[in-house]
């Protein structure tokens, strides 16, 4: 499968970047989705802008390379138009929890049936290392030379509270698990959020730290409270599905079995309806 999913784009990630693992995982995801009856032709991706987003150029899937902070809005639009598609959106931490935080909160609130993979490297990497939403207090970057004065957001907590029905954490060193998480997220009907711990070797090389702290989470919490407690842990970093619950997706809630694209009417039919309304 990998070859078929490669493009001719030159890969410009730094050697050792955590993004490679996400790219590899995605290639496996496509295969596993196929096994589950979701053909590659139905898998559509979106990306924001940043190092993470380059995955769009490297992965031979259809989709929309969107704007910084809008990947999850674009993804919702694709799903809204054609609910038969499986939509995965790649976001950076800056994308997801700064410029685009409103869309994240609302994608979760309305339970849009998309999967958002956040490449969380705790920094604005592509713009040369400024602090981001998940940067630690004290983080020094070119816009905060004396250190970040803000405390970081906890993405899992925010998504759980906003109403996400599938919340998970992966780690780039655990590619197999990451693959499974993304597959599970994409098979979940409703909004799936996956935070991926993705060290930036250049700006936030936390492999060593993560290797110590990340622990496999065997099974999802059975309540939101438990999931929140897990998400708040700071001594160890559980990786796995934190929480999963069922609720009608935004698309289903809005229009049931309708499909705007495949149900597009012929002209005569539409004009007849318009005529009716004009009376």
């Amino acid at each position: 499968m990998p070859d078929e999913l490669a493009t001719y784009a030159e890969n410009t990630w730094c050697a050792g970047c955590g993004n490679f693992a996400i790219l590899n995982a995605m290639k496996d995801v496509v295969g596993k989705l196929e096994e589950r009856g979701v053909g590659k032709e139905r898998v559509v991706m979106t990306a924001g802008i940043g190092c993470h987003a380059k995955i769009f150029d490297y992965l031979a899937l259809s989709g929309f390379y969107s704007l910084h902070g809008r990947s999850m809005a674009t993804a919702q639009g694709i799903k809204l138009a054609n609910p038969d598609l499986k939509v995965v959106g790649f976001c950076g931490d800056g994308d997801a929890f700064a410029e685009g935080i409103a869309h994240m909160m609302y994608a979760a609130k309305r339970n849009s049936d998309i999967t958002i993979v956040v490449h969380d490297n705790g920094v604005y990497a592509l713009t040369t290392g400024q602090r981001g939403p998940t940067s630690a207090h004290g983080f020094k970057g070119p816009s905060t030379p004396r250190g970040n004065t803000e405390d970081p957001f906890n993405p899992l907590v925010l998504m759980l509270e906003a109403g996400a029905t599938f919340v998970a954490r992966g780690y780039v060193v655990m590619v197999g698990e990451l693959t499974d998480l993304i597959v599970a997220g994409m098979m979940h009907e409703g909004f799936s959020f996956i935070q991926v711990l993705q060290p930036s070797v250049t700006f936030t090389n936390r492999y060593a730290e993560y290797n110590e702290m990340v622990e496999r989470l065997e099974k999802p919490a059975s309540t939101l409270d438990e999931a929140l407690a897990l998400a708040r842990e700071t001594d160890r970093l559980p990786a796995g599905i934190f929480y999963q619950t069922e609720k009608p997706s935004n698309e289903r809630a809005l229009y049931g079995d309708w499909n705007p694209v495949t149900n597009h009417p012929p002209r005569a039919k539409r004009l007849a309806k318009v005529k009716e309304l004009i009376g």
């Binding site: 674009t74 138009a81 009716e276």
Partner: protein
């Protein structure tokens, strides 16, 4: 005193049923086969304040309200004081004598009467229909039928209440202005309804909007009729969400439109540029209000013209047009959705509160709407940005075995990011060729309306067209009215003959944006101009006098 043209102004507090009083009268006139124009004037509040509706009807076409009314009904003190001088010579003024001490005209104790029934506050608006019925000479039964049809509910109270008012007015001015029937009953709608129906007729699948006056009622209308039409509507968390969800939707193959006013459109600009780069078909409806900024949300202005012409950074094809009448809004909305899809470009329908929310009778052929149908790719080897001679690459939507990559980055034909100098220039060339193709296509279309014939030349655009046409109808002015419907590309090829016409330029703008656009693009320098920018649309009789003044 039979007159063909009859104007009715009814005013009162918001929440008292003023809009209903106006629209029911308009409906009634329309049911007589007459032409009608209804203008709602209301402040930005939910209850109280001062609302009024001006409804004018005639047996000929009519494209404006008038502010000299044959019947003025004021339900509260402020309305009476504000509008009593709006009565035309020989006209009738009816006021609520419970709240006005020494009124002028026919005082009726509306509040006292209303107190006899439940919910007196909600009832008082029915006085309008009663007074109107009396003045135009309906019988009490005819009035009851009118109220039954328009108010539908609570008739056991509404009709007796109305009958009381009717009697009081009929006593003094009964049958003063009998109205003749018109030729046939026409549809009646607001500009926003026409736009909604137009995009629906063109094949719209998805409509997204965040509430913002005066565009909001497009969303309301489509939401109310979504299942009937098969149009999905959604109100996301912000205008930025609206436009970005919309671009995703369009890229997945759904005919998609969005609607907002200036502030919301401003927030959409980053994504309009994205639509330019990624070549996403999208129609944005921009209904302007008095600005800048929050401005005067429920009042009209044409202050957003220049802003609408250059949305988004960078160079790409932009299409902007503005309808002159409610009738035109229907076809133009459809046409713009079609153009957006034909050229995979953002298209903007620019209009104003005065068109969006005014309501008029019209002769509408529903077939008179384009159908948005993209040129689709066939076979394999798909390239989203295939470098076609006309700059327009075929479309394809997932699910598909082909790779379909839309992108905001500069890209090669497949959609892969590029930083290569030659590749960058090549795609700029492609987009420029598309811009040319749009221009060529517009040359084959009707892009400018001309009305009448006369020594004077008047240039106008957008909703002001309705005012100008009506001003000419009610005066002896002989003039040629030229109304560019398309504003970008600006149809200069249609305007060469006016190079030395020194036209009168009429617009609702303080800065004269349309005047300068004409001068800059078509090198037509105005001989004179008439501008209004107090939030109110032109009044045709006043406007006629202004035209006469400047035409000298």
């Amino acid at each position: 005193m039979s007159r063909d043209r009859f104007t009715y102004i009814v005013g009162g507090k918001a929440g008292e049923g003023i809009k209903k009083a106006g629209s029911s009268a308009a409906n009634f006139f329309a049911s007589m086969g007459r032409h009608v124009f209804q203008m709602d004037d209301y402040p930005s509040l939910i209850r109280g304040g001062h609302n009024f509706v001006a409804v004018t009807t005639a047996t000929r076409e009519i494209t404006s309200h008038f502010m000299k009314a044959d019947l003025v009904v004021g339900l509260d003190k402020r309305s009476h004081e504000t509008h009593r001088d709006h009565v035309a010579e020989g006209g009738v003024v009816v006021y609520n004598s419970d709240v006005v001490e020494s009124g002028q005209g026919i005082g009726v104790a509306m509040s006292t009467e209303a107190q006899k029934y439940p919910n007196p506050g909600l009832r008082i608006g029915v006085s309008g229909a009663a007074a109107l019925s009396a003045v135009i000479g309906l019988s009490a039964d005819e009035m009851a039928a009118f109220i039954t049809r328009e108010y539908k509910r609570d008739l056991e109270n509404n009709i007796p209440f109305a009958t009381d008012i009717y009697r009081a007015v009929a006593e003094k001015a009964g049958g003063k202005f009998p109205l003749g029937d018109g030729d046939r009953e026409r549809a009646m709608m607001t500009g926003n309804q026409a736009i909604a129906l137009g995009v629906a007729a063109a094949g719209l699948d998805v409509y997204l909007a965040y509430p913002m006056t005066p565009a909001t009622t497009i969303l309301h209308y489509l939401a109310a009729h979504d299942q009937e039409l098969g149009v999905v509507t959604m109100q996301p968390e912000s205008e930025i969400a609206v436009i970005n969800i919309a671009l995703g939707s369009a890229a997945a193959g759904a005919r998609t439109a969005v609607g907002t006013s200036g502030g919301g459109f401003a927030l959409m600009e980053e994504a309009i540029s994205l639509a330019g780069m990624a070549e996403v078909p999208i129609l944005a409806i921009l209904s302007a209000r008095s600005g800048p900024s929050t401005g005067v949300p429920t009042y009209t202005e044409q202050g957003d013209l220049r802003f609408a012409l250059s949305p988004g950074h960078g160079e790409f094809a932009r299409i902007v047009a503005s309808p002159g009448t409610v009738r035109e809004a229907y076809g133009l909305a459809a046409e713009l959705l079609e153009l957006a899809w034909r050229f995979q470009s953002p298209a903007v329908l620019l209009t104003e509160k005065h068109l969006s929310e005014s309501r008029m009778t019209l002769d509408l052929d529903v077939e008179d709407a384009a159908w948005a149908e993209p040129a689709m790719h066939d076979g394999g080897g798909y390239k989203r940005y295939a470098d076609m001679e006309d700059g327009v690459s075929p479309l394809l939507f997932p699910p598909s075995d082909e790779l379909i990559q839309w992108t905001s980055y500069e890209h090669d034909e497949l959609g892969i990011t590029t930083e290569d100098a030659a590749a960058i220039a090549r795609m700029h060339d492609k987009r420029q060729r598309k811009t040319e193709t749009v221009l060529e296509h517009l040359r084959t279309m009707k892009t400018v309306n001309r009305f009448g014939q006369g020594k004077a030349t008047i240039f106008t655009y957008g909703s002001t067209t309705m005012s100008v046409l009506e001003a000419l109808r009610v005066s002896d002015i002989e003039a040629t009215v030229v109304q560019p419907v398309y504003l970008k590309p600006f149809p200069v090829w249609e305007l060469e003959e006016y190079r030395d016409a020194n036209p009168i330029v009429i617009e609702q703008s303080a800065a004269g944006q349309f005047e300068s656009l004409l001068a800059e693009k078509a090198r037509i320098d105005a001989g004179a101009h008439i501008r209004r920018y107090d939030g109110r649309p032109f009044e045709p009789e006043e406007l006629a006098r202004e035209i006469e003044r400047v035409a000298q």
